[in-house]
Amino acid sequence: MSQALDIVARVRIGNRAGNPWRAPGLVIPLAFVLLLLAAVALPHWFTALAPDAVDTDAILLPPGPAHWFGTDQLGRDVFTRVVYGASQSLGIGIGATLIGCAGGVVLGTAAGLTPPVLQRLLVRLIDILLAFPEILLALLLIAVLGRGPTNTLLAVGLSSIAGYARLVRSQVLRVWQSGYVEHAVSLGESTPAIIARHVVPNAVRPLVVLATIGVGNAVLSASALSFIGLGVVPPAAEWGALLADGRNFLDTAPWISFLPATVVAVSVIAITILGRRLQLLLSHGSVP
């Protein structure tokens, strides 16, 4: 869905007025995202159990004091798996977004600033990539690369490059025609310096917001791949895989999928809100 990301990212959900730092909508998502990052870095702080620890005497236990989120079909603690899954899912989300953005910046900048012939070719290449539905491209890549967390990351990341590239290119063109680039010429700055000092940094600026929201999207994309059965390899606790696993137990043990699904949704919401707040902050800073 990130092909439409640039449209989505423009959407504001909060008030236009007011100090965005003071809005209560900032603190809670920020705290949650920090918590997630803590879970990525230090999962053992949150749980003493191992994510792959099978306990066949404790199968499908409902949530309780010993197992906050219950246990799954192998007696593994679902909460532990969700905590360890954070590093998988967020890792994939962040990694894929980084790949998408980096690729998008390179491709988009090149497609905006190279000589006309090359530019036309690159624009066409972006068009071609955009003609693939993102999930189809990701599936193709998985088929070529094989399954696994790194490949999921690559597939989700690579398939999002075109979307980012289109945005970067439009930004690059916008900045290239801006008053301050022209002004920099009149000050006597050289073209490479202008590109490096003004064009790229300013063109990439809106990407920060987009990338934040993109992380949430990438987490969802990776989970969709796992759901189809083309995601990470067991016993990885990636969130999508947890959901996919749990769907066989919807009626007998709904917590296996329901609680991770809630965590996924809340995480994505938190990341998205954060991204949009960030956008408010940025726009707050640039308009009197």
Binding site: S178, G179, Y180, E182, H183, A184, V185, S186, L187, G188, E189, S190, T191, R197, H198, P201, N202, R205, G285, S286, V287, P288
Partner: protein, 560 residues
């Protein structure tokens, strides 16, 4: 000027010819909520407008004049608190009705029907996705004044009434297809459509060229003659002077002075009004400061027959439109700027004056002709050769925010040319930035701020400081004060002249404002459609214009 006032004089639709007070405002307060409690932006103002009368409220930005106008139609804005001792509007039958405590429904019966509202810049004030006809006809439709099948005819009548030729054709066109003047007329027509007695016009001519402005002002005069009461909101004293019967000067939410136009202008009593009037540049202000009292020292004498610092020879610039037609933004333009002197270029929008500025800066390569800097090739150089020389020619533009990298602080902006053209160390650059910021009369603490956190005047000073950083010989100023309030404009103009004296700068000064140009320039070039129609010493051009266009231009300027 041919305003037809022969509309259908239907009894219910016609503006009343009878005299009498149309609007009465007494002790109007408007406040907005803020973190520190309600903030009052209008503090107890009172005024009246009679039939056929034009009242101008004059003030600078933030004075509260626009919000006053909007409060009169119940649109002061979300969260606004409007109180007044009395707020009365005469109905079509002449009976005054109170406007306080109205519901949204009641307001909507007033808007358009009893008060027509004309906003600034019709390009954005008309819905760009709808035809002129539908826009003009909307009040008729909304207030159910005419059956649908008669609206078309009425629209044409209305358009004709505000002087739009070929009304049937225009009605089917979209706002962007019309010229600025026609658009503004259409906007007025839409405000008049439901035949309100009172017309509020908020900066109705600000975005227009002087000649077009003159025509629009004529429309308002005709409307007042026909019996409409008109409230004119403007920052431009000259416009108020030409149009208004009475003038109210507004400052910080208060009316500091109200009276007949002539009296206020000839004999201003309030200190602010005096300051405002003396800040307006004109023929009379040459040789004195605008922002402070007193005459300025005379320019150092200029040597005769000196080599021009910048010479444009036979410059032609062509643009290809999307429809492949070619326009000449400049054609055969030859100009000279002498060291320490100011050449003013004046012209209306589209005259090509900005293009000439870009050519002089070598940002645009001329399609023919050449530019010489100190007698050497300038436009013909490759960018690589030109780059080291660029420090000598710097520029100041209308909106400096556009020319600052949005990520930069003021300090970094000022250091930008220092980095490029000097090999000063970090500390030295910092010190130089401090010097420069003081040179343009700004406190040093702005160095850490971003331009977005500064006012328009401060930004323009930063822009000047940056331009001076590389110690240029020539400044190219493109509408440097057009976005500023008159008192701020005065300060910036004063600053430029003071610096010119001190540093011996040459200036190419581009503006649409004849007053500013006359105030600033030693020589003047008048441009129209890419051609210099007249050039000469400032006083000669203004006092004895040779070209017909110059004469028309001068005639169109409203005078105080």
């Amino acid at each position: 000027m041919n305003v037809q006032l022969v509309g259908r004089q239907d009894l219910t639709l016609a503006a009343p010819a009878s005299r009498g007070t149309i609007l009465e405002v007494e002790d109007l307060h408007i406040a907005f909520p803020s973190r520190l409690g309600p903030r009052e932006v209008v503090r107890g103002i009172s005024f009246q407008i009679g039939a056929g009368e034009i009242l101008a409220i004059v003030g600078e930005s933030g004075s509260g004049k626009s919000v006053t106008a909007r409060a009169l139609v119940g649109l002061a804005g979300p969260g606004s608190q409007v109180h007044a001792k009395a707020l009365r509007l005469a109905d079509h039958d002449g009976e005054p009705r109170s406007l306080t405590g109205l519901s949204e429904r009641q307001w909507s019966r007033i808007r358009g029907r009893k008060i027509g509202f004309v906003l600034q810049d019709a390009l954005v004030s008309l819905d760009p996705l709808r035809t002129i006809g539908r826009e003009v006809g909307e009040p008729l439709l909304t207030h159910g004044l005419l059956p649908r099948n008669e609206i078309g005819k009425e629209i044409e009548t209305l358009l004709a009434r505000v002087g739009i030729p070929d009304p049937a054709v225009r009605a089917a066109q979209y706002p962007h297809e019309l010229s600025g003047g026609l658009r503004q007329r259409a906007l007025i027509a839409s405000a008049l459509a439901a035949r309100p007695r009172l017309l509020i016009a908020d900066e109705p001519t600000t975005a227009l060229d002087v000649t077009v402005q003159q025509q629009i002002l004529g429309v308002f005069q005709a409307l007042a003659k026909a019996g409409h009461g008109i409230l004119l909101i403007t920052h431009d004293l000259a416009v108020a002077a030409q149009l208004a019967d009475r003038i109210a000067v507004m400052q910080n939410g208060e009316l500091v002075e109200t009276g007949p136009a002539r009296a206020v202008l000839r004999d201003p009593r309030h200190e602010y009004t005096q300051r405002l009037l003396s800040a307006v540049p004109s023929a009379a202000t040459r040789g004195r400061w605008l922002s402070t009292q007193g005459t300025r020292p005379a320019k150092p004498p200029q040597p005769e027959r000196v080599e021009p610092i910048l010479a444009l020879r036979d410059i032609a610039v062509r643009f290809t439109r999307p429809d492949r037609s070619v326009t000449h933004a400049a054609n055969g333009v030859s100009l000279h700027v002498h060291p320490g002197a100011t050449l003013g270029i004046v012209g209306e929008s589209g005259s090509g004056k900005t293009t000439i500025g870009k050519v002089a800066l070598a940002l645009r390569k001329p399609d023919a002709g050449e530019v010489l800097f100190r007698g050497h090739a300038w436009s013909q150089l490759s960018e690589r050769q030109r780059r080291p020389l660029r420090r000598h020619i710097q520029t100041i533009v209308q909106d400096p925010l556009n020319s600052f990298d949005p990520r930069y602080t003021v300090e970094r902006i000022i250091e930008q040319p220092l980095l490029l053209h000097t090999d000063l160390a970090k500390a030295e650059r910092s010190a130089r930035a401090q010097e420069l910021i003081q040179l343009v009369n700004l406190p040093p603490d702005v160095l850490d701020r971003r331009p977005t956190a500064l006012s328009g005047g401060q930004r323009q000073r930063v822009s000047i400081a940056q331009a001076l950083a590389s110690e240029p010989d020539l400044l190219i100023c493109d509408e440097p004060v057009s976005a500023l309030d008159v008192t701020t404009q005065a300060q910036v103009l004063d600053l430029l002249i003071a610096l010119q004296h001190r540093l011996g700068l040459a200036m190419l000064f581009i503006s649409h404002d004849l007053g500013v140009i006359r105030h600033m320039s030693d020589r003047i070039a008048v441009m129209k459609d890419g051609v210099i129609v007249e050039t000469g010493p400032a006083d000669d051009v203004f006092d004895a214009p040779k070209h017909d266009y110059t004469r028309r231009l001068l005639a169109a300027v409203p005078r105080l």
